[in-house]
């Protein structure tokens, strides 16, 4: 698997996914976005990066991103419906966590998941994240205020890269 940074002329697939209710699943807000709105969001990315999750054969099966929330580095992800339950999200999270701790001087990386979105927070736990609490009624989603499980992994818990190597030489 590979994470490939999203280029501006490469937003079509992401745009299609974000407006597709089936792809978004039952836990994401229903938020229809025009192509121009998505491009604007892309142009305004600050302290954030978007990646496609690619399989070895270059098929794009998901999206993962990191961004700042109230000064904290947070990540978010999604996998297309027919590729779920295969461990791809866990692998993508591990790669992104490696990348963040290797490239940024941060002590923690956090993530949130709907407490009912078992698959999502399981992926976090398998990637070494610890549940810190449940924030109540933080997100208005599909007609109701939903809770958010908050997770984090600290640098000392990560210890060393799981998938990425520290130097490119290690790959040779």
């Amino acid at each position: 698997m590979n994470l490939r940074i999203v280029e501006k002329d490469d937003l079509s697939l992401l745009h299609e996914w974000e407006n597709d209710l089936e792809n978004e699943g039952e836990f994401e807000p229903i938020r229809q976005k025009t192509r121009i709105e998505l491009e604007k969001a892309y142009d305004n990315l600050k302290d954030a990066q978007w990646f496609y999750v690619e399989k070895k054969d270059k098929t794009r099966i998901g999206f993962i991103a990191h961004f700042l929330v109230a000064g904290e580095v947070e990540l978010g992800y999604s996998i297309v419906p027919n590729e779920r339950r295969k461990g791809y999200a866990t692998e993508a999270i591990k790669i992104l966590v490696d990348y963040l701790f290797l490239s940024k001087d941060v002590v923690r990386v956090q993530a949130r998941a709907d407490p009912e979105n078992f698959a999502s927070w399981k992926a976090l736990e398998k990637s070494g994240f610890t549940r810190e609490g449940i924030l109540r009624k933080t997100c208005f989603c599909r007609g109701a205020w939903k809770n958010d499980c908050i997770y984090s992994i600290l640098r000392e818990e990560w210890k060393e890269p799981r998938i990425l190597a520290k130097t490119s030489e290690d790959n040779h």
Binding site: G71, V107, E132, G133, R136, I150
Partner: protein, 178 residues
Amino acid sequence: MNLRVREKEDLDFFVEHHHNNVNFYGEHGSVMTQMSKTEAEKRFEHPSPVTTVCEAVRFVIMSKDGTKIGSIGHYFVQPSRLMEIGYDIIPSERGKGYGTEAVQIMVDYLFLSKDIVRIQAVTNVDNIPSQGVLEKAGFVREGTLRKVSHVRQEWDDVHVYSILREEWKEPKILTKTA
């Protein structure tokens, strides 16, 4: 007790207590609050983009005789737009229940004036008095965020608290009509 929105004339109070005393926030807060009156006035007249986007508003806490004893503020955490409050009492007036009363008034005010479902607050895990204030004011502890607050050379953990509109039910101190 009364809360009054901060005016320019109140800046002397903030310069004296908040901005000119490294120990004001005690062992749980940042020491980096040094600010001259000129700087404080500049910031008051020209709020930073962050202050503006968070819609941050600060109030002075006044005792019955009009003495300024602390401050309390509300703001929207970005980008989640979660309503959060923060407060402080000057050292000589701590331990007298003023913090709790100020928080109760603020919670009443926010739930009465804004269409929000929750109000949150965070405290350093070692700041027991502040946690007491929140618990007495009806807040529930939701979890503990690790290493999110950099204080005095260390990364500290903070407790997150919140009160939901349905837990608040009705004003405790303010009334619904003037």
